[in-house]
């Protein structure tokens, strides 16, 4: 499940980076900083949910002892 680890890491990086960009754009366009904060925090929550619990997709290539 090293492949799973790679997947988890690339998922967090892309989700959170993308959320950061989206949050900035959302706040800029809507001209209010609270949208930036909301979008940012909800994106981060999504990243947590996608990566932290041990979903089975991360265990597709288990190590063979």
């Amino acid at each position: 499940d090293f492949e799973g680890q790679n997947l988890a890491e690339s998922l967090t990086t892309t989700i959170i980076a993308f959320t950061g960009i989206l949050a900035f754009i959302a706040g800029w366009v809507l001209s209010d900083l609270k949208y930036t904060v909301y979008v940012g925090l909800s994106g981060t929550t999504l990243a947590f949910l996608a990566v932290v619990p041990p979903w089975p997709m991360y265990n597709r290539n288990p190590l063979v002892w």
């Binding site: 799973g4 680890q5 988890a8 890491e9 967090t12 990086t13 959170i16 980076a17 959320t19 950061g20 949050a23 900035f24 706040g27 800029w28 809507l30 001209s31 209010d32 900083l33 930036t36 940012g40 981060t44 990243a47 947590f48 990566v51 932290v52 619990p53 041990p54």
Partner: protein, 183 residues
């Protein structure tokens, strides 16, 4: 990424990094796109009564002469509000030269503006909020006294900015009037 705890740590760590970058971009946007208030601000001194009495100031043993300067103020600070503005602090200060200290400035009125809807200020014959006295104790017959209107933008993220928009004509304070029955 081999255990849940490690994943929590990594996700949170990257989140703080990204949050810091976004915040610094927000602060940078305030610097790159600055705001200026419109030129429609006017400060006028109306009614000035000076040195109506002698009051003991908290740090000195001898009584000080007080000056009371009422003023009109008209200002529109709505252009100062962008997405990064948390509140705007507006204040009126009295500045005058002196012998002991060449420049003196005393804030006599201020207001915190937290939304653009409240950003229009229209005061007529406003009494000052704070006492105006000098450290030497003398306020009577001071010359070249001017009122200035300043504002201070406090952003959510980033550096504070100050500005001044509105200066009144210089006046001369009249002589000392003793309050009836005071020492």
């Amino acid at each position: 990424m081999h255990s849940s705890l490690v994943r929590v740590q990594n996700v949170f760590g990257f989140f703080t990094t990204v949050a810091f970058c976004v915040a610094s971009l927000v602060a940078l946007s305030s610097v790159l796109f600055p705001t200026e208030p419109t030129a429609g601000t006017a400060v006028d001194i109306t009614n000035f009564k000076v040195t109506k009495g002698r009051v003991r100031q908290y740090h000195s043993s001898k009584p000080h002469e007080l000056a009371a300067i009422n003023f009109d103020l008209e200002a529109d600070l709505e252009p100062l509000f962008n997405w990064n503005t948390k509140q705007v602090f507006a204040y009126v200060s009295v500045s005058y030269p002196g012998q002991k200290f060449t420049e003196n400035e005393v804030v006599i009125w201020d207001r915190i503006i937290s939304t653009p809807a409240k950003a229009k200020i229209n005061l007529k014959n406003q009494k000052p909020k704070y006492k105006l006295n000098d450290i030497t104790g003398k306020m009577a017959e001071r010359t070249n006294v001017t009122l200035t209107f300043h504002w201070n933008v406090q952003p959510h993220v980033g550096a504070l900015t100050w500005g001044e928009s509105g200066k009144s004509e210089p006046i001369t304070l009249p002589g000392f009037e003793k309050k009836a029955g005071s020492v």
